[in-house]
């Protein structure tokens, strides 16, 4: 029987996140296709942690991620740029005052 790539079309895409060591957050490293979450974890272990890159893996169905639109970048993030009073350096404290 001659199979084509189409016999795998239903395998969902998982985004893979790895925690390099305890104390650090999981970080996105890439993606892979798998039949289910268990297989995604097994494959992520084989391809993304061959050299001690991690101590924990998250496999998240890519379809479950809600992402902001890059076209909204200005309306979402620029308002923060002119709010300098959110930063400590905005406030003037005499040099003689210590520990602040």
């Amino acid at each position: 029987m001659n199979h084509t790539a189409s016999d795998r079309k239903d395998w969902p895409l998982f985004e893979i996140f790895i925690r390099p060591k305890n104390g650090l957050s999981h970080k996105h490293v890439g993606s892979l296709h798998a039949a289910d979450a268990k297989m995604a974890l097994g494959n992520a272990r084989d391809v993304y942690t061959r050299r001690g890159e991690g101590v924990s893996i998250w496999a998240v169905p890519a379809a479950a991620i809600a992402a902001s639109d890059p076209a909204d970048k200005a309306s979402l993030f620029e308002p923060a740029d002119d709010k300098v009073y959110r930063h400590p350096t905005f406030y003037e404290i005499p040099a003689d005052v210590k520990n602040i």
Binding site: R8, A35, R50
Partner: protein, 333 residues
Amino acid sequence: MYTQGLDSKADQGAQPSPRLVTDNDIRFQERIDAEEKIEPRDWMPDGYRRTLVRQIAQHAHSEIVGMLPEGNWITRAPSLRRKVALLAKVQDEGGHGLYLYSAAETLGVSRDELVEQLLAGKAKYSSIFNYPTLTWADIGAIGWLVDGAAIMNQVPLCRCSYGPYARAMIRVCREESFHQRQGYELMLALANGTAEQKRMAQDALNRWWWPSLMMFGPSDDQSAHSAQNMAWKIKRFSNDELRQRFVDATVPQAEFLGLTIPDPDLRLNAETGHYEFGAIDWSEFNEILKGNGPCNRERLEARRKAWDEGAWVREAATAHAAKRAQRHLKNVG
């Protein structure tokens, strides 16, 4: 393992079609010029997307097909030490293929499409993997020369303007330096071995030298997409520049091995500090790209066989996943 400038002038796929330059194009180029990275959902010109899909897919296919010539020697490695190194290297290449397919998918192409193109013989992959691995010394020559050339090509790609590709390349490069070192160490052992072993090493160098130089792709005046790809910062250095760097780095390494580069025209230009080398036989390269290399058919047949023989595994995994999902539903319902 490797990416290659495969495009000749005949292949005009990514040639920007004559059209008006829009505000989007101008803003895009400004971002590139400012060394900003482009991420998957950002606006990008169609040509940029097409070029990247083609290059990343070719690169991914090269990793996967590249497992075959070396896999050929795993069971015949002369010691356990060499065997574990070769196994780890071939396994890395499978991983590199995955990182790259994963990067290509962020551009809107599906993995299945890419695999189908490879199996149908419609996709290109690096010409180097269409040569046979005749002796154990070939494994040394591949690590030293082929991976050496690959690294030369790939290090600049770590700064490619497209974020996911650049990140994949950083992982690949980090893993790849052992590939070249194990190859050189293997060559060193043969070069310092018996007369027969040294002859084997020389023979491997003779056969892999020119194909390795061809890995950098056609020379700049024959390369269809160089200028646009440089402007988009997909490419940072020209094919000829990278080839020259490779020759300059590799000739002294061959001298250390006591082996002779098979090029009577090779000489150091004392003024420039660069090695000058003989003309490359591009007709051989073009024949391989057309599918007429020594192993083109064998490589694709091996991939198709692997795909077909793995069908029951994919079916079983799909059925198992469906059964587990059903059981889960029953338990919560």
